[in-house]
């Protein structure tokens, strides 16, 4: 418990349960059933403190997507412990996990996943649907989030009228709208050209500066190079972590 990340987190969060870590993977393994069974994660330790901007880098098949699923509570580990904001995922049922995702986790996907027939504003507002807010409150928060990503002037537009970069900004706004403890981005620049991708990374860096905790999963070295902390994965293990050896217990 002496890693710089943990120390920083504890300081920042004032020693809340779970050491102030937003995400804490402890000896996590994941084996997909089949014949033969496919081990995707083979004992991963990863701790992310509030306010960090982390990239998980690895070639396809390295287990980084599985890591993202587990970090996003979309899947459960075969063994080991996953804690989100100090809560052990294994102790939570489907409803509690969904509540956790609704309030604490924001997702950004490579394919954006925007509803084409709804306005930009409603796409973002839909991100708050399961947090229990009324429609007016959802739209207000959505408008604020869209302002933050620089799309305050396109609230009424349809996603089909936007460029790829703008669509990804909408998706980021959707992830941010509920002020989650952590934003998980899966190849956020994967469908974008170089310049647009760079602008998206700038946006993520900006949000990080404003205090948002972000994990970006990518196979792109150029993307990873811009991040503060880089976690490299290979064959289901973390092979390096620029947060120092403390990142790997």
């Amino acid at each position: 418990m002496s890693s710089p990340a943990r120390a920083a987190a504890t300081a920042r969060d004032g020693g809340e349960p779970g050491d102030g870590l937003v995400l804490d993977l402890d000896q996590v393994t994941k084996v997909y059933p089949g014949s033969p069974p496919v081990p995707a994660l083979r004992g991963v330790n990863l701790a992310v403190a509030a306010g960090e901007l982390v990239t998980v880098l690895g070639p396809s098949g390295s287990g980084k997507s599985t890591l993202l699923h587990l970090a996003g509570t979309l899947d459960r580990p075969t063994s080991g412990t996953v804690r989100i904001t100090g809560l052990d995922v294994a102790t939570l049922g489907d409803r509690a996990l969904a509540g956790l995702r609704a309030s604490q986790i924001g997702f950004v996907f490579q394919q954006f996943f925007l509803a084409e027939q709804a306005s930009v504003l409603d796409n973002v507002a839909d991100g708050l649907l399961y947090a229990g807010l009324g429609i007016a409150a959802r739209r207000d928060s959505a408008a604020v989030a869209l302002e933050r990503v620089g799309l305050g002037h396109k609230l009424r537009a349809r996603p089909t009228q936007l460029s790829g970069g703008e669509r990804q900004r909408v998706a980021i706004a959707r992830a941010l709208a509920g002020s989650p403890a952590i934003v998980l981005a899966d190849e956020p620049t994967g469908n974008l050209d170089q310049a647009t991708g760079a602008a998206i990374l700038d946006l993520l860096a900006e949000l990080h500066t404003a205090g948002t905790t972000i994990i970006v999963v990518t196979h792109d070295e150029a993307v990873a190079a811009r991040m503060h902390r880089q976690v490299r994965m290979l064959d289901g293990r973390i092979v390096s972590d620029t947060a120092g050896p403390g990142g790997e217990r």
Binding site: H69, D75, L87, G93, A98, Q117, G127
Partner: protein, 403 residues
């Protein structure tokens, strides 16, 4: 579950949000939704229209009967033990008119062995099943009919070869209006036509009769003067009492012999029973509903397949399995409900149109439209259940990352 005090509980979806979700899902696939709702609409429309039309026609018939009056009683000779027909006593009409509450008594007496033809040249076998009957002089108002044309018999013409035609008799004889000198051939003599009656709903016997006066019938056809039908009008509150006494009053020696009936109640029963043959159409409606249900189930199965990424996204955004389940279930029920509402509207419109054309009151029984809507909702829920369960079971990672 312990240690979850900080775990945020999953929020419940509000009704308005649920409705919005369901409508968005349908709006994005309008044509497909409309086509699958159509099946349900047709089924519900068929059921509503069948029930509405039979109720409206019964209401129309009942109104007609009520307009004619429900206080007409008829007495006809019954059969005796030997199986032959009794005769009504000659004094029966006078006896009946003495019953309290009775205000009109009229009689007809069918003359056996006399047939009526358009002319002597018609072969005698072509009787058209028409009968020649003697009548008292105020029959039409009492028996529930009136003159369509000409005049009824009076004290003078009752002695002469003059007749009045029932509506069906006039039609079968090919006579549609009265002109001077018009005549028909009955019992080897000419009868001059004085008038034609309106169709008689309450006493169809009158319709197929050619009516002559008692004095003429007795003189020319050797008629014995025994009435075969006595038409009795009683004051409304006394109808039941008169009905009970009529047998004894008609034939005190054998009170159970005469057949006493209230034609209007028989007609009311008949009107209400008309609904029975509609079972076939109701069955067809049910089949259409079943086909509609399969259509809804089909579109929902496809929707779940097509919208995996939406399901995955919603799960990532914090939807529970329950949220996904209720979303798809609501969508199916909404689809069916829209179909059902359109069906009810179409069924009511069809009923209203037809009833209006027929001059009936529009009657849609509550169980027709409420039942139609309820059936639609039930069908939507049943059809949507499996797809909704399937959608809820979908693992979020599978839904999002295997497209």
């Amino acid at each position: 579950m312990t240690g979850t005090s900080r775990a945020p509980a999953a929020a419940r979806l509000r009704g308005t949000d649920l409705a919005r979700l369901a409508l968005v899902g349908l709006r994005t696939r309008k044509l497909r939704a409309a086509l699958s709702a159509l099946g349900i609409a047709i089924g519900v429309a068929a059921i509503v229209a069948v029930l509405g039309l039979s109720s409206s026609s019964a209401a129309g018939l009942n109104a007609e009967i009520a307009a004619l009056g429900t206080n007409l009683l008829t007495v006809q000779p019954g059969n005796n033990f030997a199986g032959s027909t009794d005769e009504l006593p000659l004094r029966a009409p006078a006896m009946i008119s003495r019953l309290p509450g009775v205000y009109a008594v009229q009689t007809t007496g069918t003359i056996d062995g006399v047939s009526v033809y358009r002319s002597p040249l018609i072969p005698t076998v072509n009787t058209n099943a028409l009968s020649v009957a003697a009548t008292s002089l105020s029959l039409p108002g009492t028996a529930g009919t009136s003159l369509a044309e000409g005049a009824f018999l009076n004290a003078a013409t009752a002695h002469e070869p003059v007749c009045v035609l029932g509506a069906a008799a006039a039609q079968l004889l090919g006579i549609d209006h009265v002109y001077p000198g018009e005549r028909v051939w009955a019992g080897n003599m000419w009868l001059y036509v004085a008038g034609i009656l309106q169709p008689d709903v309450l006493s169809p016997d009158v319709d197929s009769s050619v009516l002559v006066g008692y004095p003429f019938a007795e003189r020319s056809y050797g008629f014995d003067g025994h009435p075969t039908t006595i038409y009795v009008k009683a004051a409304d509150p006394r109808v039941t009492a008169v009905d009970n006494l009529l047998g004894a009053q008609t034939d005190p020696e054998d009170p159970s012999s005469p057949d006493v009936s209230v034609p209007s109640s028989a007609l009311v029963a008949q009107a209400d029973a008309k609904g029975a043959f509609n079972t076939l159409f109701l069955g067809l409606g049910a089949v259409a509903l079943l086909v509609g249900a399969i259509g809804v189930a089909n579109i929902m199965v496809i929707a779940v397949l097509e919208r995996r990424s939406e399901i995955g996204l919603r799960r990532a955004l914090g939807a529970t399995r329950g949220h996904i389940r209720i979303q798809f279930l609501t969508e199916a029920v909404t689809l069916a409900l829209i179909g059902g509402a359109a069906g009810v509207a179409a069924g009511v419109a069809a009923t209203a149109l037809y009833a209006h054309a027929k001059g009936w009151a529009v009657v849609i029984p509550a169980q027709a439209w409420a039942g139609g809507l309820a059936a639609a909702v039930l069908i939507g829920a049943l059809a949507g259940l499996l797809p909704a369960l399937k959608a809820a079971r979908l693992s979020p990672t599978e839904a999002l990352w295997t497209l």
